[in-house]
């Protein structure tokens, strides 16, 4: 993985990783469900296969109104979603003038609902409240790809804008044809097409009701439609609150956990007491389910390792599982403990730990610095644990579930239950937090299996302990860095190896001479997957901690040393602004006892960030408190300033957890801290003084249909941990090369 071009460029387009074309994926360890197939199911599976061939599009109609016609041109799926879609798949203009816009993206608190509503309203030239946005219902919406990788802003916002802008152009052309005038003389405002010269106007509703409109709306949305330039934005770029906010403060909004269906049962799964081989759950040797079966109203489902119950109340379902738990016998293979985690990763690195290829530099350098960094497993712990409601009707399945990838979960359900995707509808109501932790559909599959066997709708809601144990984790990482300096204190070579945690932001963001970066997989003891910014946090923690060490070796101020090696003008701009706003030089030189300041910067997914932190250390307990964080962030043109500020604020505070306290501990295959009483996420009393600055600088666009904005939900988290570690060094002279960053108490 070479870094060649990145370093050579100044402020050219090539210096900005193209967030649209980025070859990006976030593999997540999925659970392998091995359900047995009954003969009856087998026949049905064949039947469903035939249905695909002859009747694609004949789907469920369980909800009011059933499936929308023409709304399923959804392409192949995957990280980026399907291919081109029709106008009708993207939006609908009712005869009453109501505009409904469809997107496969989900809302998990990151702000997609407001942003995509703005996108449609901007291009259709209507007020925000004219748009009703339908999100994440596989029967209704196009597949816009999984909601991850900061992809909504650079990819789905332009897609929605293209659909809306093309529809606007279509309506203009319909009106100008009717009036027999040139389209250039026709204007659009407030949901009306207007010809000022002849004082004529038609509403969108009138135009959409025309006979030929229905036909033209079945056409494919052309690519390359010109979008409204940033300078002409009236709705985008303006602070926009969440459209469904009132229901969020009254308790009226139904999260996936809150869905209630007639005759619904509550499910519970028998979980192993420990992990098994290859980061999978331990295998079940035997269990006696008769005690649960004997309980009134309880349905027991057993299929291989899968054992679960469904009951009229959660309380009864829990009792049923508790009744059979003592009878269960599980395999208990050796499992590496968290205290030996980094030895384990080093030992199992595929192909071994690579040698530094720059032997010539090592032999001639004025100075060489070599260090290793540790980043443990952490959990996303979204406030709403995994949840799903599954309902079968005539061999068709509807699942309401919290996931970042409803189309991907539809595929998981199809594979696990061996039915056609066309017989599955996945609906994702706005849910309670993802942070990269909900790419998968475990609860959906489990609920569907229980519901199928019980013959009733089942709601399955994971407990916090289940979420802390059987969901996936941000991967632990062992990072090894070695660099050389010449006599002037300039970096001449850079060898940077990440074992296990991932390749995001692996390339140095500095000019470092010869460079080689490598990501190496290892035998991961826990199931892992995405997380807000994923490995960018680990790699930036190591690289920015390491840069501070190099600055010391070169005898330079950390800011000056960074700027001397920094070419990316966007990154320079945020770093210089952060130093200015924080009053870096003055604070660094006039430091009080037991306090320190640190600085760090980084880039990921086309956005750039810099942070300065001030910390204070309790002289006795050596506990580290973060007093102040100044962060400057830039992600191109700001679409929703209110939401962006909130996301940056949330990322900084969330980042304090893994920086200072969070780490999953496991011993003999058992999780030791699977509870909020043992795993300490940030609370009110952790919040430092925050000084957040957002730079609003549209990215140069490659075409009029391109995005001037990068995604912004992740990158603001990556600079906080290294800034704190560097501040601890400033305060104490101790270099902490592991997260969480802690000091041993005084004797």
């Amino acid at each position: 993985m070479s870094n060649g071009q990145w370093l050579l460029d100044g402020f050219s387009l090539a210096a900005i990783p193209d967030p649209v074309a980025l070859a990006y994926d976030e593999p997540v360890d999925l659970v392998d469900f091995h359900f047995h197939l009954s003969r009856r199911q087998f026949v049905h599976t064949l039947g469903a296969g035939l249905v695909i061939a002859v009747a694609h599009g004949q789907l469920l109609a369980q909800e009011e109104g059933g499936e929308r016609k023409g709304g399923r041109n959804r392409g192949g799926g995957g990280f980026f979603g399907g291919g081109p879609i029709s106008y009708a798949a993207r939006l609908h203009i009712g005869k009453d003038g109501a505009i409904t816009v469809f997107t496969g993206k989900v809302e998990g608190g990151q702000g997609a609902r407001a942003e995509l509503t703005q996108a449609a309203a901007e291009e259709l030239r209507v007020p925000l409240d004219h748009i009703n946005l339908v999100m994440a219902d596989t029967a209704l919406v196009p597949n816009d790809g999984i909601t991850a990788g900061s992809g909504t802003t650079p990819r789905t916002v332009p897609a929605v804008r293209q659909g809306a802008a093309a529809a606007r152009n279509l309506l203009i052309s319909l009106a100008s044809k009717t009036w027999n005038v040139d389209p250039s003389e026709v204007e659009v405002r407030d949901g009306k097409v207007v010809h000022t010269a002849s004082n004529r106007e038609q509403t969108y509703a009138d135009l959409a009701a025309a006979e030929d409109a229905a036909t033209v709306f079945q056409q494919t949305v052309p690519s390359g439609v010109t979008l409204t330039p940033v300078k002409q934005w009236k709705i985008m770029g303006v602070a926009t609150p969440r459209p469904n906010r009132r229901d969020l403060v009254t308790g009226a909004h139904q999260y996936p956990s809150d869905i209630v269906r007639p005759g619904m049962l509550h499910g519970k799964i028998l979980r192993p007491p420990s992990f098994g081989l290859n980061s999978k759950p331990a295998k079940l040797k035997s269990v006696d389910v008769s005690a649960a079966k004997a309980m009134d109203g309880v349905v027991v489902v057993q299929d291989g390792d899968f054992v679960g119950v469904a009951a009229p109340t959660t309380y009864l379902a829990n009792q049923a599982i508790e009744a059979i738990t003592p009878t269960a016998q599980w395999e208990h293979p050796d499992h590496p403990s968290s205290s030996k985690l980094f030895e384990h990763l080093e030992k199992t690195a595929r192909g071994g730990v690579p040698e530094n290829p720059f032997a010539d530099e090592l032999s001639t350098a004025a100075k060489t610095v070599k260090q290793a960094y540790h980043v443990p497993y952490v959990q996303h712990c979204p406030m709403e644990p995994r949840a799903a409601v599954a309902e079968w009707k005539d061999d068709k399945l509807t699942v309401w579930t919290a996931t970042q990838g409803p189309f991907a979960v539809r595929g998981e359900l199809a594979r696990a239950l061996r039915i056609s995707e066309d017989n599955i509808r996945v609906i994702t109501p706005d849910f309670g937090g993802g942070f990269g932790g909900k790419h998968s559909g475990e609860s959906a599959v489990e609920a569907a299996k229980l519901a199928q066997a019980a013959g009733k709708t089942v709601s399955l809601r994971w407990t916090r302990a289940e979420e802390f144990t059987w969901a996936y984790f941000r991967p632990a990482g062992l990072i090894m860095a070695e660099a050389t300096l010449d006599a002037d204190g300039t970096i001449t070579s850079w060898h940077f190896v990440n074992i296990n945690s991932g390749n995001q932001s692996l390339e140095p963001h500095y000019k470092v001479g010869k460079a080689k970066t490598q990501f190496i997989a290892a035998d991961a003891p826990l199931r892992h997957g995405s997380y807000r910014a994923l490995a960018s946090t680990a790699n930036t923690f190591a690289a920015e901690n390491f840069m501070d060490e190099l600055a010391v070796a070169a005898g330079r101020d950390p800011l000056e040393f960074r700027l001397a090696h920094l070419q990316n003008p966007r990154l320079r701009a945020v770093l210089e602004e952060a130093a200015k706003q924080f009053d870096w030089t003055n604070r660094r030189n006039n430091n009080r006892d037991n306090t320190g300041v640190g600085i760090a910067c980084g880039t990921d997914k086309g956005s750039v960030v810099a942070a300065c932190a001030e910390i204070e250390i309790d002289p006795k307990s050596k506990e580290i408190s973060v007093r102040k964080v100044c962060e400057v962030f830039e992600a191109g043109a700001v679409v929703n300033p209110e939401n962006l500020r909130t996301q940056v604020m949330g990322a900084i505070i969330m980042g304090l957890g893994p920086a200072l306290r969070e780490e999953m501990k496991f011993e003999d295959g058992q999780m030791q801290n699977a509870a909020f009483s043992k795993y300490f996420v940030p609370r009110f009393d952790d919040v430092p003084e925050l000084d957040i600055h957002l730079l609003d600088r549209p990215l140069p666009v490659r075409s009029p249909s391109d995005s001037p904005s990068a995604g912004a939900g992740e990158t603001p988290i990556i600079a906080i941990a290294p800034a704190i570690a560097n501040a601890v060094f400033h305060a104490t002279g101790q270099r902490i090369r592991e997260m969480p960053i802690r000091l041993a108490a005084s004797a």
């Binding site: 609150p241 969440r242 009132r246 403060v249 109340t313 406030m383 909130t646 990322a651 925050l690």
Partner: protein, 160 residues
């Protein structure tokens, strides 16, 4: 053994026959379909399940139903007066004091309890009063602003 309890929830009386140890949270959500109150941890450590019992904040996930019987229970659904929101709800809206908002019901109930006890809390008192509630989106500064705003509003007590 099951027993029958009288629950007064949001001004309405309910008779519930169930196991005395069953959590109030489950009864609210599963028997009374009041799903605005959320499960977050099951160990009274996150505050998502907060409701008011006789005006005091309790963690409904760890409150056996028998302990709530014959008491006055207020949940998030009981705050609106017709179309009119409670001042704390208004303040949360005005400050956009949420992201995913799954914690919001519990935050609002905890804030109402805090303001009933300390109508004009200092920032330190807000932190102390709210520190048992978790927001994983980390909207804490905005929640604090919302509580300050509610404290400054002309009518704070509302119907609590």
């Amino acid at each position: 053994m099951e027993a029958t309890f009288t629950l007064s929830v949001n001004g309405r009386q309910h008779l519930v026959t169930t196991d005395p140890q069953r959590p109030l949270l489950d009864v609210l959500r599963e028997d009374l379909q009041l799903t605005g109150t959320k499960y977050g941890c099951g160990e009274a450590r996150c505050g998502a399940c907060s409701v008011l019992v006789d005006g005091k904040r309790v963690f409904s996930c760890r409150t056996p139903i028998e302990n709530a019987a014959d008491k006055t229970i207020l949940t998030i659904e009981g705050l609106v007066d017709g179309d009119k929101l409670h001042p704390v709800q208004e303040a949360f809206l005005a400050e956009n004091a949420f992201q995913c908002a799954y914690c919001t019901s519990g935050m609002i109930m905890a804030a109402i309890a805090l303001l009933a006890d300390k109508p004009h809390p200092s920032d330190a008192e807000i932190v102390a009063g709210m520190n048992r509630n978790i927001c994983r989106c980390c909207s804490y500064p905005k929640i604090t602003s919302a509580i300050r705003r509610a404290a400054d509003a002309p009518v704070v007590a509302g119907r609590s």
